[in-house]
């Protein structure tokens, strides 16, 4: 399969403290790649380093171009959409304005995309003129994902979408991600601490510990691995 993202010796941190000590991962077109890691393992830092939110060194090849020197708004224009931890919606803007700003990097017409997302998430249509800040956690997460996909990205970065959501809502969310993946071929890089549901939709899995990738494999291998089960699956 064709490769869409590859990082090589990706290093990043905050100030003088290095959090990522040379991460190598790759995502192929059409894959849902899940990165598991405990609190403080560097998952969010890795996502922010890929999308250009923080300074980083090393190689970030996206569609065979090195984008490690680009700032965040240019990375978005290349085709990577990042749903940050805590959703990152615009609370003061309405639902519809959130979707419209999601298409900021596009120059073509996007009215049909808004209708499409209202079709996928009817709740958002009901609340289209409400401020995003007044939505429930689950609705905000759906808005965050719809907004990210308004840019028609080739790769979606999802940072702990399950955080603060009821298990049922998380399941619903992951089903949507899986459906988008199988219907549109969207590639997804998902980091999660709460691994049960994530493993169900994963094509491949990486394990991130203290800023380094320590292992990789298929979801089945991880589900049957006792150490992983204790640390990340809670059973």
């Amino acid at each position: 399969m064709s490769e869409i993202l590859r990082t090589h010796d990706l290093r990043a941190g905050y100030g003088l403290i290095e959090v990522l000590h040379g991460v190598n991962i790759n995502v192929d077109a059409g894959e849902i790649v899940v990165v598991l890691g405990a609190n403080g393992a560097g998952k969010t830092t890795m996502m922010r380093a890929i999308s250009g939110m923080i300074p980083r060194t090393g190689v970030v090849d996206f569609l065979a171009d090195d984008i490690a020197h680009l700032s965040a708004h240019k990375v978005t224009a290349r085709g990577i959409a990042h749903v940050p931890q805590g959703r990152g919606t615009f609370p003061e803007l309405t639902v519809e304005e959130n979707l419209r700003i999601g298409a900021h990097s596009r120059r073509d017409s996007f009215a049909a995309d808004i209708d499409y997302w209202y079709g996928v998430f009817p709740r958002l249509q009901e609340r289209r003129l409400q401020r995003a800040g007044s939505l429930s956690g689950g609705e905000q997460q759906m808005l965050a994902i719809a907004r990210a996909l308004m840019s028609r990205p080739k790769l979606l970065l999802c940072d702990e979408p399950s955080l603060g959501l009821a298990p049922l809502v998380t399941r619903e969310l992951f089903e949507v991600l899986q459906r988008l993946n199988s219907e549109t071929g969207l590639s997804v890089l998902l980091v999660e601490q709460n691994a049960n549901l994530a493993l169900e939709i994963a094509s491949r899995v990486y394990l991130l510990e203290t800023g380094e990738i320590v292992s990789s494999g298929t979801p089945d291998e991880y589900m049957n691995n006792d150490a992983v089960r204790k640390s990340y699956l809670g059973h």
């Binding site: 939110m53 965040a72 609370p91």
Partner: protein, 299 residues
């Protein structure tokens, strides 16, 4: 009754200037979260440029537009070269830079054009002694009507910019959540520079109109207007365009009424005090200002 209308109308006219300047403060505040202390001095400096261009023979309206363009570029440059580098460190650093800018521009204007110069400044609007209409027994000077109309038009344009354009949506997105704005592809640096530029341009227009009413340009031109404008922005809630406009007009009317109806114990000297008292009262009851928004968030 004619006295009432006179005070009302004079109040609306000076209120329009407060509103314009308050809008500048709000535009910058929404983008960055800073009160630009140098806003008044930036306006004053641009007004000197307008006067100078006019002095060289450029028609005043063309000079005013040029002054606004120079203001735009100047404001954007100030943001990118002075504010942004220190903003990473702390809010206090921005405050100090703005104060420095305030003093610097003030002294620079004095140094270039002599202190205190009494440069005669024509008005953008007809301003002969008989240029007025009598309505409800009050004399409505064309100049004041002009200021009021310009104020309303600029406000309307700003509303359209913020609510109807792609760039305005990007500005509001940056104000709401700067990190997420970058993630959807907004060049936040450009938006912030444009906010400062826009504020400086509107400030240049306001300054030109103020100088037109007094007939002279001096380094202290905008002092009291800046105080009124920050009062209006505070009263309006600091992040609300409509709030700034309504508060600016209200303050203008109230201070004119107070000064007019109680000339003995308020008069011209104490009118600023009246405005500040109202603000104190409002903020004690409603800390977000009249139209300010509580940041909404649900987790």
């Amino acid at each position: 009754m004619s006295r009432f209308f006179q005070y009302l109308f004079d109040g609306l006219s000076s209120g329009a200037i407060y509103s314009l300047l308050a809008l500048c403060l709000v535009v910058v505040y929404r983008g960055t979260g800073y009160l630009n202390f140098a806003q008044g001095e930036m306006s004053m400096f641009c007004t000197f440029l307008v006067w100078k261009l006019n002095d060289w023979g450029m028609p005043l309206w063309l000079a005013a537009i040029s002054g606004m363009l120079i203001g735009y570029l100047g404001g954007a440059t100030v943001e990118t070269t002075l504010i942004r580098p220190v903003a990473k460190r702390s809010q206090f650093a921005v405050f100090v830079v703005a104060i420095g800018l305030f003093l610097g521009l003030n002294s620079l204007a004095g140094a270039i054009w002599g202190a205190p110069p009494q440069e005669t400044m024509p008005s953008l609007f007809p301003n002969e002694p008989d240029d007025f209409q009598r309505i409800f027994g009050a004399s409505w000077r064309y100049q004041s009507i002009g200021i009021l109309i310009v104020g309303l038009v600029v406000t309307g344009l700003l509303f359209a910019l913020f609510n109807k354009t792609r760039f305005g949506l990007a500005m509001r997105a940056v104000a709401s959540n700067a990190d997420s704005a970058r993630l959807v592809g907004v060049n936040t640096g450009r938006v912030l520079a444009a906010s400062w530029g826009l504020a400086a341009a509107i400030g240049a227009l306001a300054g030109t109109m103020v100088a037109g009413t007094t007939g002279e340009v001096v380094p202290g031109l905008m002092f009291s207007y800046f105080v009124y404008a920050s009062a209006a922005a505070t009263l309006g809630g600091f992040d609300s365009l409509g709030g700034a406009v309504i508060a600016g007009l209200t303050i203008g009317v109230v201070e004119n009424m107070a000064a007019g109806y109680a000339p003995k114990w308020i008069g011209q000297e104490m009118r600023l005090g009246v405005a500040l008292l109202i603000i104190l009262g409002v903020l004690l009851i409603k800390p977000t200002g009249l139209f300010g928004e509580q940041k909404v968030s649900r987790v």
